[in-house]
């Protein structure tokens, strides 16, 4: 049999025919993290040199830092098997058929619009409610408010950016802050000028796209003196992603007399390790409020913190965690009283079900000289069955005079009396339990915008279905 001659079309094509494709630099996604990958990311984004250097320095710190020895076991994370940067076009690897059934079902039950579903499931990279966003955007611009994604901010507001970026959470803060600083991409950037009140909550939701909800997003919010802003991140609907690691950094500066509220509703799919560093510094008579809800992910480790830098500063953390089967929510808050006459409260509500584990981990620290501070921490945990687990680890350190610090926690199951009362009114056990759980987290839901609160209640209802026992 004659052997067909082997023809390599690519070979000496150029010489033979005298033409070739112009050499274009195309970023090829590679797994793992090296200095070259970081340089490419920075080059792709067209960043100034200082940022490239900061990224490289952070990478060195990341390599040196150890994983935390407390909390969840993170040793299973394979840092070499992660895509640290993907262009949004490359991300569309998932098709609707690949999206897990339970996620689709939840979309159905929550009544999420079709286009939004595709985005949340990672099928499409863009979901923009253009009209809403643009009219809003115009109004904000008129007020002098900057609300954009963080990459754009670096290009368009370089001075503001450089002044604050990485000052609240330096790369050396912890291993994941270092990782984020090395490979960050996306996130939100907000600047609210002096005295400006932003009436409606700013939601990443208005202009969600892949850039915005990345794996290593970086958010920076600056509230100038006397201003107010409410920022909402995430959404109640589950977000499906094939990325196994989500490691964001959020830095917030709240200047004199200003107030900032940051609401998070985290509902990543249950394959995600969600390791986030969030910190705010608060100056005289200013207020920072973290409203933090964690529903999804396999493991969350997140402790929003407030540094109370000047007298009259106030910090609030309201944290809710729901851990179902196979989930571990290690959440809480930190209040660092640096100045006298500062006040803080932390309220934590957690629910464990079906073998899930919730941990409250918090730290209240009062530095020497920070006299006349007040701090109160309250943790309530609800265990819905005997497979689940709840832990409380509050650290209270007081090093100043006339400081009043209190901590309280309770762990309980759904009370038999409450259940009996509801069931005696003809309500089924499942419905009754759902009502009790919804009541339990009410302090959280009532702080949410209405549409979120409604969705959250529905979501709890879904989670509770079939949990009778």
């Amino acid at each position: 049999m004659a052997v067909a001659p082997k023809i390599n079309v690519g070979d000496d094509y150029r010489e033979k025919y005298g033409f070739f494709d112009p050499e274009k630099f195309v970023f090829k996604a590679k797994r793992g993290l090296t200095d070259e990958v970081i340089q490419e990311i920075s080059w792709m984004k067209g960043e100034p040199e200082w940022m490239t250097k900061l990224r490289l320095k952070s990478h060195a710190i990341f390599k040196k830092k150890k994983l935390p020895t407390w909390g969840a076991d993170l040793s299973v994370i394979d840092f070499d098997n992660i895509f640290y940067f993907l262009k949004s076009t490359e991300k569309q690897g998932t098709t609707w058929d690949e999206v897990p059934e339970d996620i689709k079902r939840t979309f159905d039950k929550l009544g999420i619009p079709e286009a939004e579903r595709k985005f949340l499931a990672g099928v499409s990279a863009q979901y923009e409610s253009e009209v809403v966003y643009h009219s809003l955007h115009q109004k904000l611009t008129d007020q002098g408010v900057v609300f954009t994604d963080t990459d754009t901010a670096l290009r368009e507001h370089p001075d503001l950016f450089k002044e604050y970026f990485g000052t609240i959470i330096p790369p050396a803060d912890n291993k994941f802050a270092a990782l984020n600083t090395a490979v960050w991409s996306g996130g939100s950037f907000i600047y609210v000028p002096k005295g400006v009140h932003v009436d409606i909550p700013l939601q990443a939701y208005f202009r969600i796209n892949a850039e915005n909800m990345g794996q290593f997003e970086r958010t920076l919010i600056i509230c100038d003196e006397g201003s107010f802003v409410h920022y909402i991140e995430g959404c109640t609907a589950p977000i499906y992603t094939t990325d196994s690691l989500h490691s964001a950094v959020v830095e917030i500066i709240v200047k004199r007399n200003a107030r900032c509220r940051y609401t998070t509703i985290q509902n990543w799919s249950t394959n995600v390790y969600n390791l986030v560093t969030k910190r705010a510094v608060v100056y005289a008579d200013a207020t920072m409020e973290w409203v933090d809800g964690n529903l999804g992910s396999q493991i969350t480790m997140k402790y929003p913190s407030v540094y109370l830098m000047e007298p009259g500063a106030k910090g609030d953390v309201l944290s809710v965690a729901f851990a179902g089967k196979g989930q571990h929510q290690d959440a809480g808050g930190k209040m660092i009283h640096v100045a006298p006459n500062t006040t803080s409260t932390i309220t934590s509500k957690s629910i464990s079900k079906g073998g899930g584990r919730t941990s409250y981990r918090g730290h209240v620290k009062v530095y020497p000289g920070a006299n006349h501070c007040k701090s109160f921490v309250k943790c309530d945990a609800l265990l819905l069955d005997d497979e689940s687990r709840s832990d409380t680890y509050p650290y209270n350190d007081v090093d100043a005079e006339n400081v009043t610090l209190g901590h309280e926690a309770t762990v309980s199951k759904v009370s038999d009396e409450q259940l009996f009362y509801l069931m005696s009114r003809g309500i089924t056990q499942n419905e009754a339990e759902t009502m009790i759980v919804n009541g339990f987290i009410e302090p959280f839901t009532k702080e949410l915008p209405l549409e979120y609160a409604v969705e959250l209640n529905r979501l709890i209802q879904l989670e509770m279905e079939g949990s009778v026992g």
């Binding site: 464990s352 832990d391 650290y395 009043t404 610090l405 309280e408 199951k413």
Partner: protein, 422 residues
């Protein structure tokens, strides 16, 4: 007698201890030599500063010397007085002896009643817990066994008193209490020494075995001099329907690292862990407590209250652990700190690990100054500030002092606190 392997052998020979105990001392010494000082990056030791403590400089044994102080309480049913490291002198009512109560130095008990001591000694307070526990297990000297047989009730308290008058030595008494089924009694351990220049290494550990249905009250009153570094582990093992009421009073020492633990092993077991402390000058106290609910239908109730003055530092860290099968458990834990000076520092870490849903667990912690409203109220009634403050502090301690298991100890602790308030 320095801190060496030879000293371990010598102490064992001195008391004519049986071979099994000698072996156990040797094993503990091996642990002591093998492990280093606790790593200060570990959570339990992060806030503990034992700089300036050099174990090798201590003498392993202190001969009996110094004038014996009086007894802290009157009318005890039995008294053991230990001077230095020398096994103590015992007095016990004849009637109790007849009922089978055994009360004697631990070294003697190891020889005469191995069936009581052998399986229990260092089974709850383990030698390999840390280097200090290993030193204690290898070099303990004197100490006490109290055994109260089944169904024996003792009306009046039993007293152990440990006195040291020389600095530079290790004073390591160990109390082993074994309560038979339905036994009922109260016990007071008093540790004291004058304040000396040379540092001392002290313990004051206790293992308490509470039999089925038994009720044991145990009070430990620590008044070591300000030269002492104390490392103590007190732990109760509580069987079905047994109850232990452990009360820890820490007043003395330059440094005290105390673990106070209840191991609830049987259904219906209950434990009360109470503590009171008063830290002044440059004292450092660290308390780690554990309420370990291993089975269901168990209850535990913990309250540690203390006042801080001057530049004193206090760390409280407590854990309630409810194991998976421990349904219908009820646990409470509270730590309250009254900070009386600008430079004192309190750290409070009450922790919960709950693995079962059919439980009731609550805890709380507070750190705060004397309540200005209460002070103002008293002052408005014509009471001078100093007196009013004193009254408030007394009231603060009252809540926990009232829970001391027996009256004699309650009066004693009240007097001690009075003296500290000046």
């Amino acid at each position: 007698m320095p801190f060496t392997k030879e000293s371990v052998e010598e102490i064992a020979s001195l008391h004519g201890e049986p071979d099994w105990l000698r072996t156990r001392r040797r094993e503990a010494w091996e642990v002591y030599e093998r492990i280093g000082l606790p790593d200060r990056s570990e959570e339990e030791w992060r806030r503990v500063d034992f700089k300036g403590l050099d174990l090798e400089t201590f003498a392993a044994f202190e001969p009996a010397n110094g004038a014996a102080p009086g007894l802290p309480i009157e009318g005890a049913a039995g008294v053991l007085q230990q001077r230095g490291s020398q096994p103590g002198q015992v007095e016990l009512e004849e009637e109790l002896r007849r009922k089978g109560v055994i009360f004697m130095p631990l070294s003697q008990a190891a020889k005469e009643h191995p069936e009581l001591v052998r399986d229990r000694l260092f089974s709850e307070v383990k030698a390999d817990r840390d280097k200090f526990a290993a030193a204690h297990a290898a070099l303990f000297s004197g100490g006490t066994l109290l055994y109260v047989p089944d169904n024996v009730e003792i009306e009046r308290p039993i007293l152990g008193q440990y006195w040291s008058s020389g600095g530079g030595a290790a004073i390591l008494p160990h109390t082993l209490i074994v309560a038979g089924r339905n036994a009922r009694f109260n016990y007071l351990d008093e540790f004291l020494s004058p304040s000396l220049d040379e540092p001392a290494f002290t313990s004051g550990s206790a293992e308490i075995f509470v039999g089925e249905g038994a009720a044991v009250g145990y009070v430990s009153l620590q008044k070591w001099g300000r030269h002492a570094y104390q490392f103590a582990n007190q732990r109760a093992h509580i069987a079905k329907d047994g109850s232990a009421r452990i009360f820890n009073v820490t007043l003395g020492g330059r440094f005290a690292k105390v673990r106070c633990e209840a191991n609830l092993q049987g259904h219906g077991a209950s434990a009360e862990l109470k503590g009171v402390y008063f830290a002044s000058g440059d004292q450092f106290f660290d308390f780690h407590t554990l309420q370990d609910h291993q089975t269901g239908d168990t209850t535990s109730d913990l309250l540690f209250k203390g006042a801080l003055e001057d530049t004193a530092r206090v760390v409280y860290a407590g854990l309630i652990r409810i194991e998976k099968g421990a349904a219908h458990s009820d646990a409470y834990q509270a730590n309250r700190n009254l900070v009386l000076s600008d430079h004192a520092k309190a750290t409070s870490i009450p922790m919960l690990e709950i693995d079962n849903n059919d439980v009731r667990c609550t805890h709380g912690a507070t750190v705060g100054p004397v309540d200005p409203m209460s002070l103002w109220y008293l002052e408005s009634r014509g009471i001078p500030t100093a007196t009013a403050t004193r009254m408030i502090v007394q009231g603060f301690f009252g809540e926990v002092v009232d829970r001391i298991p027996f009256e004699q100890a309650r009066h004693l602790v009240e007097e001690e606190l009075e003296a500290r308030l000046g």
